[in-house]
Symmetry: D2
Subunit: 311 residues, 4 copies
């Protein structure tokens, strides 16, 4: 059936201290597009090459972190099937938000993952396009549409909590996602990080073993090339955006990366490259004897802050 | 269920005049890896980042062209379902090749598409890896493993024949693939080209309307970057490989491209970029009033040879 | 003395049919910066990373082509030495324009090259910087300063006329420039194209043998990378700018290139790459048996229009 | 006179603990070409796109560091002029090595810079080309000629010692080089780093203020693109080469950079990009209030080891 069911992370909702600061960071500096203005005091952003109306939601709060991860599934009927399977096979309570409860989207199935994160699933979100028409679209939108870091799409999220193997079980059995890579403790093979792909991307979500539930490690945005990654790094330096890890390449996924923080301390990533993954690609395993190489393969040096700072 | 069923074009079998010339072209110059030597007088190649044992098969013949397109499906049980559906819904006769009839692969379902092309579907092919181990793989194989044009993977094929809409019907209803783009006659909206995606790539296969059945337009190989595309073009010029279209960008798929010919006149492409496609991405339509832009968007100039030379 | 004397082509003055059309092409689409407004009905542009106030001058005229090429020399005293040598050794009449006759520049030495082109030499032009301060400049200017094709600098010009070897003689003996490459008729070794470097760039000016004097082949602008070249090509296609040659690589200079035309038919180039040249680098010679490779090395195909259309 | 006189750093002689280890590092891993084998127990390397026979000399020693920096001047007569000026204006004693004393080179003028470094100047070195013919050279050498990190040329050196302003005085007055950038103490404007350009490159040599004379900070090699820089970083990680600073961008020069160490602890750099410099480009000044930005502009974080570890 090719791509079907739960297609991707379609929406990430993050808490920020101050909406004006957040607007300057995500809008003016990163160049995301503020695509919707609601009456709910939240900010709604999309990346340049996404068709859905928004993919990032920012809510004012006194604590940073993640409110929920939203997944888009192909057909509305999938939602009922997921609900049944989550309850019957995993004993997970679900609830529903009716269509329109979240702006411009259909009904949502809402539940809590074993790692303590709220998950939303929806099959419909209105689309306002990618800056180019659907007939004879051309290849590049008008000047000014792509700005800042030249972000293409929301790419993936990394979340932390206990019970990451239970999360995996759900994503494999209910959602049909594949395990692309594992990071295991080399002394006992216990999984510390689980990387899952819904597509031909090397990962769409990852789970990091953490004692506290519901933690947020980072949200990642796709760039087109290493050239654009360097351009993003130039802007990060220009604006004195706090950097966690300057340009490097992950061992896991083989993607090129920069990590930095928003003004509230939430970690962002810009990401490009990585291999083409299929469900028949063998799962790759890294162990902690090679923790440096697994995380930052240019210098094989693990970063303390990267491993332990979550919001 | 994320990626499932018919995952990708996993094998393309092409006819060439001379195996030594073909080996020089595909092996030494393009840098594909001759990965299997059979007793069948065929050449078997794979690209550097593929795990399956081979993806390109070359057979000596007095006429160039394509023997068959092989598709890999995720589970062996899919084959029976496809066979039933092809026969009952489309009246297409199928036959079977037993496991091992083709080297290193499981049983194959074989049938003829409405465009006159032989299609193979298999769920199993032995894997010999991508030059890096499965545990702590690192990010780059040993020097010399990636050679020539630095080809990453077999990417897609474009085939020509009548009844392209019947082909589409099968790929949508039996295989669950999405129509990413259409090229239509602007006078009557008749589809002249149909582009289909099984994944998050902008296309995995395309059908070009042609009066004669079973025609072959090109096989395309994935590169990592526009830099590698220019490097490939430098090699193409160095070796005086006949060029159909020098570096350009397609309107359809937004991919960067070079077209050239193997020594038997079969068209090859190297390809990089293009957008991320999902089944909920709106189908893009190009019409022939913008034929130049749809095909080669840097100069919006259709190429006669590109549109009409097939093998 | 390292770099000294006649440093570079610092100014090119071109004739255009219509200033509004020219402004749309060079300003809005190419992204050059309209840096000076005079009372002379001319347009003055600079590229983003140039310090001098302007490098391109556009004058309304009923015929396209080039008015003059301006060269910047390091010291004002150079001008007197050049004047003396041009008159005494080459019998070339010179004249002077006083400081301020051309906006924001010092006195100019003006004479006609053997190929029939007016040449200006000046040692002073006011500077307004490259969008970044001189103390703690940072690495990237404010968003919006670099626009359109992301042009870095005026790079070089190619002019056509008779007596190209006499031009060379002057540039070697009076100005100390080096001959980086030659294109010769393979039947008799007669130079058809002469490429000269004042720097570590592969060329700063080139002379093309043409029967008519004072002809203009193209003005070239430097880009940072092949990625930016592809981005420029995307814009060229978007705006339906007439393309002479889509992305390719020159044999001569090894630079990556696109040729296109302004609305008046003057040829523009965007250019990136090419080797590092020094005066002790051996002069490379191409002959017309390899004319395709010398001009466009990706397909080794000479373009009729490229060789014969000048303004 | 365009480029003239002292053109570039043409040769760097470095001390290493073990020639076999050095060969593995500089030859097999970095991909420099071992171009000459002498009877002197030294290793001679060149980079792929250099015409001169060698540019890097490695000598076995129990202490790492630099033996001398060799500069190539355009004409042999320059040597006499330099000798006179060094002695008369600067009171610097010079000596001569006769032609052939160093392999494949002409006579050398040898003296000690105020920073305590031995400098060689020569006008002649035999050339063995860049892997491509001088007539109809093409654009890319045969496969295998460019290997490892795909190094194009020796680019520059950074040396440390006292009296860096005296060094500058010599390079300005005797050799005609320009000061492209300065790093000064923000409390008293004292120069701590002086960056000098002999060409259109942003620097050819730099002097770092250090208490001990004759110290070696790094030798830098030019790459073609940020893509190749990432490829080099992938190899550095693969081979566990000790990294000083992973991919970043300098504020000074705006070049993209990686710093790493050879097996003897000598610092190497691969470098790409940076602006085009001319003698009339204003000298840029950084002060120590922006030390992070001046050195590593992606995170504006000075590295202790970078500033203080020299050999």
């Amino acid at each position: 059936m090719a791509v079907n069911g739960l297609m991707r992370v379609g929406e990430v909702a993050i808490r920020v201290f101050d909406l004006d600061e957040a607007r300057r960071h995500y809008g003016q500096r990163m160049g995301l597009i503020e695509s919707h203005v609601g009456d709910d005091d939240k900010l709604y952003y999309k990346a340049a090459d996404e068709h859905d109306w928004y993919s990032l939601v920012l809510r004012r709060s006194d604590t940073p972190g993640i409110d929920y991860v939203g997944f888009k599934t192909l057909n509305d009927a999938d939602l009922d099937r997921y609900a049944t399977q989550l309850e019957s096979e995993f004993g997970i309570a679900v609830r529903w938000a009716e269509a329109g409860a979240y702006p411009l989207t259909g009904r949502r199935l809402i539940f809590t993952l074993p790692t303590g994160h709220e998950a939303h699933i929806y099959a419909h979100k209105d689309q306002n396009g990618n800056g180019m028409p659907l007939r004879n679209p051309g290849t590049i939108p008008d000047e000014g549409y792509i700005r800042g870091m030249r972000i293409v799409r929301l790419d993936h999220v990394l979340i932390g909590g206990p019970n990451i193997e239970a999360n995996r079980e759900i994503f494999v059995r209910v959602f049909g996602w594949a395990t692309s890579e594992l990071l295991v403790d080399h002394t006992n093979e216990m999984p510390l990080g689980i990387f899952m792909s819904a597509s031909t991307k090397p990962h769409d979500i990852a789970f990091l073993l953490q004692p506290d539930a519901g933690r947020f490690h980072h949200v990642s945005f796709l760039l087109d090339s290493v050239n654009d990654l360097y351009h993003a790094a130039d802007l990060i330096g220009k604006y004195d955006i706090p950097v966690d890890v300057a340009p490097n390449r992950h061992g896991v996924t083989r993607g090129a990366t920069i990590y930095f923080f928003d003004p509230s301390g939430n970690r962002n990533e810009v990401f490009t490259g990585g291999y083409v993954h299929y469900p028949d690609t063998p799962t790759l395993t890294w162990d902690t004897s090679q923790l440096g190489r697994a995380t930052f393969s240019h210098d094989n040096t693990p970063r303390e802050s990267f491993l332990n700072v979550l919001t």
